[in-house]
């Protein structure tokens, strides 16, 4: 990142190749609209380019990048329907308990994976974000708490609830 700040364009290419996948998935799964997701994803990178001079080598680069993405997504939610998006709790499709209890019986794993994404998309935004930051960015609970401006316990609780819901949904799933 510092090399890119000093004018090395090749350094940016490396950074982009390394982080584009997790960031793209994080944005898309938070926004749940492919076209809008692409737009916001590009906007995140533009903000990153503009803010490169402000980067300090004090923290994790990935945390800083996802912080920019988080802020951009929150701006989007506030502009759209914040009360619906942030507090929405859709009914999770019930997954069959038997399937979850016997993972070896999950003949088609892809079906379960698709179901997981479906379950993820209907999670409340804070829980979904916490889960995605954990899975995609690989951040610790402390880092997630700082990024989302919550307490450590709050972040931990969100993650626990997200996993419980996903697990419950998958366990009730019958492919």
């Amino acid at each position: 990142m510092l090399r890119y700040c000093n004018g090395e364009t090749g350094a940016f290419d490396l950074l982009y190749q390394r982080h584009k996948g997790p960031l793209y998935r994080y944005v898309q799964r938070m926004i749940r609209n492919p076209a809008l997701g692409d737009e916001i994803y590009q906007d995140v990178w533009m903000r990153f380019i503009d803010a490169r001079a402000k980067y300090r080598e004090s923290g994790k680069f990935r945390a800083w990048l996802f912080q920019i993405a988080h802020n951009r997504i929150m701006d989007h939610f506030r502009k759209q329907q914040p009360e619906q998006e942030l507090d929405e709790e859709k009914t999770v499709t019930t997954l069959p308990q038997a399937a979850w209890q016997n993972p070896e019986k999950m003949v088609d794993h892809q079906l379960f994976a698709d179901k997981l994404l479906e379950l993820l998309s209907v999670l409340p935004a804070p829980q979904r974000e916490t889960f995605l930051l954990r899975q995609e960015a690989g951040l610790s609970l402390k880092e997630i708490a700082e990024l989302t401006q919550t307490s450590d316990e709050g972040a931990k609780s969100r993650l626990r609830y997200a996993i419980a819901r996903l697990r419950q949904g998958l366990s009730e799933f019958k492919p």
């Binding site: 004018g7 090395e8 990178w45 794993h109 996903l166």
Partner: protein, 313 residues
């Protein structure tokens, strides 16, 4: 209990595995290209802006530096030498005056050499020349009054045994005719002030007739000037006239000889000797035999053999 503890990480692992199966989602190539292009452009623009910004700072900085230096130099000059800045023309004249008077100082050099220095030509017909002559006459008076030697002006000038004298061959010698450079004859008995005034008037008269001459025309113009001078002045006027004007011409020879003869007739042998020495310096080529004939061998022979007295300091 232990089963529960073992089950939970397994469930999480299954969840992670299931999630990882969906991680093949990547941004489209078009989006990648646009972002990379934007990043490269941003760096290039920054590298172009930086030198421009630096140049924008350099210009006012250089201007300010020049301004500060100029003010500093001017203020320093004003503090150290205020007269130089306020009275620059007068100071120049005053500085020129000692330089000209140095020509009068005995330097054992041929007169022509001293005169051959390039000098500023003063066009006497212009009105400022007259006023300048008067002004310089006053300056001479004040300068002489300041120095105030115990002896008279005539004595002071005659005390200099070797004097560089202008010759007819010298070009553009109008400045040499200024009062401060006048060689006074012993016959000039008037006080210093009246002498300076008379010399200034005569100079104006002579300067009006003399034009600024080129080097080749110098002899002709000076010769014509001296002829006109000889015609227009009586003997007394010639005695009061500047010595350089007389000495510069052959017409001055009889006047000088007459003055020496007068001094001899008046039994003022010391004065006659001084006049004789001055004459010899001014006209070194004048035949000694003629001098002996006109002034007498008894007077000339001892002076020719006797060395000149040491100059007064």
């Amino acid at each position: 209990m232990s089963d529960k503890q073992n089950q939970t990480p397994t469930e999480d692992e299954v969840l992670d595995l299931l999630y990882d199966m969906q991680t093949d989602s990547r941004p489209p190539a078009d989006l990648d290209r646009r972002i990379l292009q934007a990043a490269h452009q941003a760096v290039e623009t920054e590298s172009q802006i930086k030198p421009r910004e630096a140049a924008q700072w350099h210009v006012p900085l250089a201007f300010a530096a020049v301004l500060v230096l100029s003010i500093g130099i001017v203020s320093t000059l004003q503090r150290e030498e205020p007269e130089l800045l306020t009275n620059a023309p007068e100071m120049t004249q005053m500085q020129e005056a000692p330089a000209r008077s140095q020509d009068m100082v005995p330097d054992h050099k041929p007169a022509a050499k001293a005169i051959s220095k390039p000098r500023r030509v003063v066009v006497p017909e212009e009105p400022p020349a007259e006023s300048r002559l008067k002004k310089e006459g006053k300056q001479l008076r004040s300068r002489q009054a300041e120095k105030a030697p115990p002896t008279s002006m005539a004595d002071q000038t005659m005390a200099l045994p070797e004097v560089s004298v202008s010759t007819p061959s010298a070009p553009a010698q109008t400045e040499q005719l200024q009062p401060k450079k006048v060689l006074r004859t012993p016959a000039m008995k008037a006080p210093a002030d009246s002498m300076a005034d008379a010399a200034g008037d005569k100079l104006k008269l002579g300067a009006n007739r003399m034009q600024a001459q080129s080097t080749t025309q110098g002899q002709i113009s000076i010769a014509s000037k001296t002829e006109a001078f000889a015609e227009s002045t009586t003997m007394e006027e010639a005695e009061m006239a500047p010595a350089t004007a007389i000495a510069a011409s052959p017409a001055g020879i009889p006047i000088r000889l007459r003055a020496i003869q007068k001094a001899l007739e008046g039994d003022d042998k010391t004065e006659a000797e001084k006049l004789f020495r001055t004459f010899r310096l001014q006209y070194p080529d004048y035949p000694l035999a003629k001098l002996k004939k006109e002034l007498g061998e008894d007077f000339v022979n001892p002076l020719v053999l006797k060395p000149a007295p040491a100059p007064k300091k």
